[in-house]
């Protein structure tokens, strides 16, 4: 992703969520530009999730959630992730 997004991820301004999409960490201030980039990435993610879901006869929620698991597992320390239970956790 773009440097802007990577930096925001590393600085715990945004993070991976259990639903497979990027989210703004609660309480962090994200610029309009960052929010647009996140919205754009999430839209593109949904398109690929939908494509994978259709090819495998599962719902988009499923492909999104499975991808989320991998993304959260590979998140580096200092980044933040949001578990199914809703709270943001800083690794």
């Amino acid at each position: 992703a773009s440097a802007l997004v990577e930096n925001a991820k590393n600085n715990c301004v945004i993070g991976e969520q259990a639903d497979g999409y990027l989210g703004v960490v609660s309480g962090a201030n994200a610029s309009d530009q960052l929010r647009r980039e996140v919205r754009d990435i999430n839209q593109q993610r949904k398109t690929v999730y939908a494509d994978l879901a259709r090819r495998n006869g599962v719902t988009i929620e499923v492909t999104a959630a499975l991808t989320a698991e991998k993304l959260m597992n590979s998140a580096t320390s200092g980044q933040c992730i949001r578990k199914q239970s809703g709270g943001w956790v800083k690794l």
Binding site: S31, D32, V38, R39, D40, N42, A53, T59, I60, E61
Partner: protein
Amino acid sequence: MRDTGNIMRVARFLAIVVLLLAILLAALYLLRKPVASWALRQGMAQAGLENPQGQVTALTLDAIRIENLSAGPIGGEGIRFAQINSDYHWRQLLSERSVKNVRVGPGLVRIDIDQQGRISLPGITLGEGGGARGVALPFETLTLSDVEISIDAPEGQAAGNISAEYDQRTGGVAKLEVLSNMLRFGDMTISDGETAFNLILSDNGDISAKGQFTGDIDYQGATVHALSLGVDGKGASWRDAANGAREKLTGAARINVKAPNINIEQAEIFAPLSTPAMQALLGGSVTGGAISGAFDVTFNQDGIKILFADDEPPLTVETDKGTKLVVSPQGSAPFLAHGEARDATSFQFAISGSGVNANGAADAEYIDGNWRLAAPINIDAYQSPALSLNGSRVDIAARSEGENILADINLKSGLKKLTIGRLTIDDTPFTGGFEIAANTAAKHATIVNKSECLALARTHAFLAEQDLEARLSGLELCNREGRLMSVNWSEQVTSTLNGNLSARDASFRIGQTKASGKPPVIAFDADYHLVEDVTRIIGKISDGDMTLNDVLDMSAVDGGFEFVLDAEEMKIDAIVDNLRIAQHGEAPVIAPVIATATARIVGNDATFDYVLSTPSGDQLGTGRGTQNMQQASGETVFSFEGLKFIQGGVQPNELSPLLKGFVDAAVGEMGGEMVFGWNESGITSSAGFSFKNISFGGPTRAVTRTTGFNGNLALTNLMPVTTDGTQTVTVDVVDMDALKLTDGIISFNVPGDDTIVIPKAEFPWFGGVIGVYDAVASLTGEAQIPLRADRVELAQIFEYVEINGLSGEGTMNGVLPVVFEDGKARIENGFLKSAGPGAIRYQGEAAEQAASAGGNAKIAFDILRDLRYSSLEVRVNGALDGRLDFQMFFEGTGEVNMDNAKGRVPVKYTISLDAALLELLQQANLSRSFQLQIEQGLQRVE
């Protein structure tokens, strides 16, 4: 015998001759005076005197007296001497043609001055060069006593007298005095003139001369009142001069000049002093002033030297406006030195006055036709309407070679103000070294920057009438094509400045139209015609990164311009081959574009035409516009036809970053027109778009894709988006994953308050219609849009889901509220209710399996084989991209095969289907895997 006769004849002849001689001598002796007078007159005539008169009244062997000697034109007198006496020794007279003494006087000498000021003695035309040159004086002593002088000029007359005593051995004394009340010749008029001159030749050969002139002189309108000119000189040796060796004459003289009151008001020759630049130097339009100074002149065979008298105040020139120029010596060098092969001058000067405070020095030399000059000048302050400097230093080193002049100028300029025509440049301190090469024949000069580029800390220029201002800092002005400036004065004065100008930072302003940032590099040729007062600048511009009125960032420019400023107006024509335009600010609405444009500014109004394309070169559209520079208000209309969106090519969310995450991966064609207006209160915008079969991901993440979007859109504002009332478009498919709406007609209205109003949007759905009616939803936060389903056919639903063995019929109505939140869409409390009875029949694998399993499952599926319902309600909940929960409630009758009875029994049937409709639908296409699902479900229960 005969020869004695001869002798006798010779002797007789000799006696006659002697007798004749004696008579002749006697006659001569008797007639000596008239003969001498006659001889005198002949001699004077030969010497060029006109009708010479004079009688020799005494003539002896050793003395002569001539009385009433005169010569001159008829009716006028040239010279008239009452008495001239001379003693001589006749042998010396004959052999050396010199006499012992000559005593002249009393008498009168008349002198004429012609218009050109040339002096002539009427009646006397002196031989070539006026008298013997280099020949020793023909007398030992000369005395002139009581000789009057009368000077006649074309107008006016002067009278004076001269007396002198000269003895070849012991020297002599001469005294001359002339008085005149008015004498005019040519342009020169001398009035109340008094001249006194004393010459002393002492016996050791020394010469001492003292002279004094006082009077008023008027020359071509310039009048010098009470001029006093004093000469006090010493020389050596009059004997050499007397013996014709004039070149041996050496000497020194102190010259005193005092001209306390000079008036040059009517003098045209001083007109240059009234030019603005000079007026500043002289403290205003100078009408007069005063000069005073004392010089020591020394002359000898190799030349004349003039030095400032060191025991006297320096040469000062003061104007009546208070400006004072003081000229003083530079070291021991003479002020002026004139020699055989070399003329030179060297002095220091200091000038101070209201408009100027400067000092400096000058060294100049003139050797066989060529001159050399060196002049360091400090200008502490100089104010003039056109130019004002402070803290400047100029070092000039110039020389001439034939018709060429080469100069080297080092300049540390505290340029405070420079006015060229109507352009004023101020606050421009700079240091630079320049080489000037001028050709006086071709009347052309070029100025080159020695170090190629001139560094300027800052500059500020403004054009009052146009309210145009430019401020630059960190400038570099470099030579262009090898030179910085050329001046031509063959016909009229034209100067051309050419250079490459770049700066670190700049701000330009015309009226309220402002641009600031890194200016483009300008390669320019600027012509300035002095007489026509026209400035023309032609330039190429490149790079640069400036922000226009905090709205648009303009960079990477590549183009050219022509700037013409004359007395009436300013005109700028610009052609831009490339210009990157981006919206200034953090989150722009419009993405950067590349423009090519032509623009013309006349006075205050600018008009421009442009073509916009994406940074990757896809043309977007063309536009034109106007700008009132003064108020920074204007308008532009941008139109684009057949704009094609393709994957990887032009994309809406690249044209407007605002659409990122809202619209993506668009395909299709769009046209339209956008109008922007701006003034000091803000920006207005409106637009008309036409969509031709456009498909795109979105809008928003909730809708995976919208396909076949067609229609026209009229917006009254782009920021925020506001539609011009209700707009109607058609769309082929709105794919919301579990819910696909097709062939819709959507009417909507975006009032601009972050909401969308949908009066009506309808889609054919399973034989009926599903639609939105009078819905209002937020565009940003959570939005809820109720979808109302009318007369939906169960048969078509079962046909769609294609589950083997599943069929039925019946009509349904209901509402599916779709909630859009955080990019996801879900149905909350959706329901479909049957309108009238219907039936559901299922004889698929699941039924067979249930039958084999027996028990309740068999009965449940038996009933389903042909369930006729009186009422059916389906409740739907869940995420459109995830799991949808279905609950179906039937009331009706179903066939039951019980051990003891077979027949239709009333049934209340509830099916809870917790399955992703999506998967259900998808698996319907993969029926085998569906079966697998059911078995697993059954086993777990038992």
